[in-house]
Symmetry: D3
Subunit: 142 residues, 6 copies
C-alpha cells in the first residue's frame, strides 16, 4: 500500500462575512477579512490517495484521470472565482479556508470514481503559514 | 555598498477588465481573469534597497522604519483589498500584476524618506511562476 | 473535524554539551555542535490543532488568540535567546532539537486554554533537512 | 517518543516500460515517460525514524550513523544511475516512483541495524507535485 | 519598463562524457556524472523578458503565446528526453547544465518572434544548489 | 559567458552589540538582537561566479575545487561558531548580517585562486525575508 500526494493550485477570492452574525460581530471576528469587496489567495490543494501498486504497471494511480477529476470537481468551479458570489456551496456557508477544505474534500469524495486508490485526505494551504487538513471520512471509519 | 532585500506579503483580489476594451476583447485577452466578481492572490513583494553599511552600527537600514514605511504605503492600502474597487490607483488602470508592480514601486519611491539607502528595485510575485521586477527610476538614471 | 497547522519561527542559539558526559564523550557525540560559545538556527515550529469547524463562524480556531498563546509560551521565552544560558528548561537538559521539541510541546500542552481545538502535535525544524515531530500526549492516549 | 525526519537527495534516470505489456500499451500507459533512452529526476527521500530521546545525550538518533546507512543502502546504489540499466532491483520491476519508493523502504527496513529508533516511513518526491509515502511494515503491524 | 520572469520545468537525463577526452580524463573530470547509462534531473528554467507595459491592457507579455513558444522550442524537444541520445544540439557538445543553458538561451533567442518584450536572460537550475544564468546577447550589447 | 550560483549553508550565532555605543543605544538600535548570550541563524550563502564555458569540458567551474575553497574560507571558520567570540574578523566589527556578508565577500575575493571564473557577487540570507547582496569589487570596477 502506498500513498500518493498530488498538488493542485488555484487562485480565488473570498470575503469572510456571516449572515447569521451582526455587523459588529462580523467585524470583531473577521477583521480585515470582512472588507466588503473581498480579497484573495493562491490556494494550494494537496490530494492524497491510497492504494496498492499495480504489479504489472508499477502505478498506484492513473495521474491523467486523477488530474481530470480534480480539475472538473475543484479547480474549474473554484479557480479564478469569487467564492461568495460564484460558488453555490457558499450560499449559506462562510467561505473560510476551513469550510473551503471541507467542501473540497466532500466534492472529491462524493463522486469518487475508483475503488482503488481511495481518497485518503486533502490539505489546503491559504498561505505557507496556514494549512488545513481534512481526513476523508472513509479513512477515519476504518 | 550593499543591497538588502526585505520580503513582504499581502493577499488581495483583482479582476482583469479594461473599460477601454470591448467585452469580446476583454474576454479574449484576459480569459478567466475577467470573471466579473474577481479572484485573488497572495502577493509577495521583495523591496530591495541599496546603501553603505554604517561603520558604527554595522547596519545598512533601520528595519523597523523600513517595515513601517512599506506597511503604510503598500501593505495597509492594498492588503485584504479588492484592487479594482478599493484602491484609487486602479480607477483608470487595469490591476494586472504588471501595473500593481508599477504602482507599488512608484508609491515607495515618491515618498521615500531616506537619502540612504535608496530604493533599488521591487519584485512582485503573483505566483511562484510569475514574477515581475521594476528597477527604480533613480537606479536606472545612473 | 479539521486539523489546522500554523507556522511560527524564531532564531536561537545552543551548545550541545552534557554535564553528565566527559569532555571526550561530549566531543565524540556532539562534534562541532559542542563548540564552547555555541551556534544557532532559525527554528521553524509548526503547531497543529484539531477540532470541529464552528457552524456559525466557519472557523476552527481563533488565530489571534492562538498566536498570542504560542508567542507567550514559546516565541518570547526562546526567540533571540541562548537556550543553554537563558532558558531554565535547559538547566539540566541538553538543548538538542529533540529536547527543544519536547519542551515546546509540553509548554504548549500544559497550559492549553481551550477544550477545542486541542493540541494535536508540533513539528520543529532545525534545518530543512532535520525535522522533529512530537505527537501530543492527549492525542496518543486516544 | 519522537519522530525525526531526515532529507536525502539523489539524481537518477528511468524509463517507464514494462516487458509484460505490448508496445501499444506501454505507449498508452506511460506516454512520454516511455521514451526509449529515458529521462530523469532529482529524487528527494525523507526518511522518518521513531524512538525515545536518550536521557543522557538528548538525541533520538546518531545522525552520522543514519547518514552512513542511508547513503550505503540507497544514495550510493541509486544516485547518478539509470534505474533500469544499473539497478538489479528493477530487472523485473518497472522503475516507477511508486516502485522506487517500495524498494527504498524495503532496502532500509531489511538491514535496519538499530532496535531504536525504528524506521517509521519514507517519503519520496519525484517532483514538488508528486510525492509518494510508504509506511514501514513494522509500523503498520502495531 | 518591466521584467517578467516565467518558470518552466522539465525532467531529462544526461551523461557527462566528452569524446574529445580520454576515458581517464572523463572519469577524473566528471566522476559519477560519467556513469555510462546516465542519470537525470528536474530542470527548472526561468525565462526573463523585458518590455513596456501596454497602456491599454496593462500587460507586458501575452503569457499564452510565451508559453506556447517556450514549450515548442525547449520543453517539448528536451523534456522527458535523454539529452545525449535524443537531442541533436548535443551531438558534439557535452550536455553539462552550462551547455544546456547556453543552448536553451540560443534556441529562444534565435527565433524570438516579438520586438517587445525582448528576451533578457534565462536561468536554469540543475538542483536548488546549482543555478546557471545566461544573459541574452542582445541585452549585453546595450 | 555564464554565471554559476552555488549554495552553501552554515549555522552560527551572534550578538548585535557595539562597543562604540552606550548600553542604551545598543538596546535602542538592536533590541532583542542585543541579548547578552546571543542567538543564531541558519545562514545561506549563494556564491556567484562568472566565466566562459570551457569548450572541451562544457564546464564553467570545477565544483569540487570551488566547494573546497568556500568551505576552507567561509564554512569552516564561521559554521557552528559564535561570530562575536570565535571569529577574529568581528573583534572590532558588529557581526550584523551586513558585516558578515562584507566579510564573506572579502574573504572569498582576497585569496581567489582562479583567473576564470571570477567572483561576481555573494548573497547571504539571515532568514527567508532578509537577504543581503554584495557585488564583488572587481565586478563593479568594470
Amino acid at each position: 500500500m502506498i500513498t500518493l500526494t498530488r498538488r493542485y493550485e488555484f487562485p480565488a477570492s473570498h470575503r469572510l462575512y456571516s449572515k447569521q452574525l451582526s455587523d459588529a460581530d462580523n467585524d470583531r471576528i473577521y477583521g480585515k477579512c470582512n472588507n466588503p469587496y473581498g480579497h484573495g489567495h493562491n490556494y494550494v490543494v494537496d490530494v492524497s490517495v491510497r492504494g496498492p501498486v499495480d504489479a504489472r504497471t508499477g502505478l498506484a494511480v492513473n495521474l491523467a484521470e486523477l488530474d481530470r477529476y480534480v480539475r472538473e470537481r475543484v479547480v474549474e468551479p473554484f479557480g479564478h472565482r469569487n467564492l461568495n458570489e460564484d460558488v453555490d456551496d457558499f450560499n449559506a456557508l462562510v467561505p473560510t479556508t476551513e469550510n473551503l477544505g471541507v467542501v473540497v474534500e466532500r466534492r472529491l469524495r462524493e463522486a469518487w470514481p475508483w475503488s482503488e486508490p481511495r481518497l485518503e485526505k486533502i490539505r489546503i494551504a491559504e498561505t505557507d503559514r496556514n494549512i488545513f487538513e481534512i481526513v476523508s471520512h472513509e479513512t477515519e471509519r476504518q
